[in-house]
């Protein structure tokens, strides 16, 4: 069993504090909340250090603690807030005109995200766009596509039907896509259908 001093734990802040913070910010969307979550993670690590076997990397262990905290918080907020968005979770009606065409045509992307992976600014933009989206839409997008949860798991968290979820995922993808179109892939004009 390895033994650690609080100096060791301080070193872990330098080592992986930023990575933990990014992880928390992507999911909690608020700097103060994300900073708190990171601090709580280190304090929980101090308290539970006896459980750290030393078999896994320190960062893996810290991420495990942080993930539990974030999942708890998302569950709690989902419970407290209930569903009261300005758009309906049960249909996409407001996005379409009488002929069932998109009222606002999606802007063209001038490029492909795959070509941008190596650019840090792209990920800043990606994260900023997630931060600007309505909270529940961003939440379901992150849970589905970054955390890789399946439909049933997400529906349970928010107590919604799969139809509700598909509506929200579609709205979320549209919003994220549009935000990237405006702020990264600056395509100039809307194309006629």
């Amino acid at each position: 069993m390895p033994e650690f001093s609080s100096q060791d734990v301080e070193g872990w802040v330098d080592e992986c504090g930023d990575a933990l913070f990014q992880y928390a910010l992507t999911r909690l969307r608020n700097r103060a909340a994300a900073e708190d979550a990171v601090q709580e993670t280190y304090l929980a690590a101090m308290r539970g250090i006896g459980q750290f076997s030393g078999r896994s990397a320190i960062s893996t262990w810290l991420f495990g603690i942080l993930k539990h905290k974030i999942v708890d918080q998302i569950r709690r907020e989902a419970r407290e807030e209930g569903a009261n968005p300005w758009w309906s979770e049960s249909d996409l009606d407001d996005l379409f005109d009488k002929k069932d065409h998109y009222k606002v045509l999606p802007r063209e992307w001038s490029g492909d995200p795959r070509a941008e992976y190596q650019r840090g600014e792209f990920w800043d933009c990606f994260q900023a766009c997630l931060g600007k989206m309505p909270k529940r839409l961003a939440r379901v997008f992150v849970l589905r596509h970054i955390d890789g949860l399946n439909t049933d798991e997400i529906c349970k968290v928010f107590k919604i039907t799969s139809t509700n979820l598909w509506v929200m995922l579609h709205r979320g993808r549209l919003a994220l896509r549009e935000c990237l179109a405006v702020n990264w892939f600056k395509g100039d004009d809307r194309e006629d259908s």
């Binding site: 930023d18 992507t26 990171v38 304090l43 069932d100 065409h101 995200p113 600014e121 990606f126 596509h145």
Partner: protein, 91 residues
């Protein structure tokens, strides 16, 4: 023929692997003639792929992909709390 509105829902179901084959055929027909939905389908797939890449990098070591960093004051505050909780003793 499916409308864009109906296709939107079917695109979402398809991405979740929940679109029955007979609906998939209708969707494919719509995509053949609709540039907007075709573009959305491709871009949504690219978004999902980007999110997956992002996820893979998130815990992969020490450097975050984004320029998001804890400020020096926050780092100091966290370390201070660690010292308060831990003292100088071995934990």
């Amino acid at each position: 023929m499916l409308s864009c509105k109906k296709s939107a829902m079917r695109l979402a179901k398809e991405m979740d692997g929940a679109l029955p084959w007979h609906e998939a055929i209708l969707l494919r027909l719509h995509l053949k003639i609709c540039k907007v939905c075709t573009r959305l389908k491709a871009d949504f797939a690219a978004l999902a792929e980007a999110a997956k890449y992002y996820a893979a990098q998130e815990e992969d070591g020490v450097m975050p992909l984004t320029s998001v960093r804890l400020g020096p004051e926050t780092v100091e505050a966290i370390k201070k709390r660690i010292r308060e909780v831990g003292g100088d003793n071995l934990l």
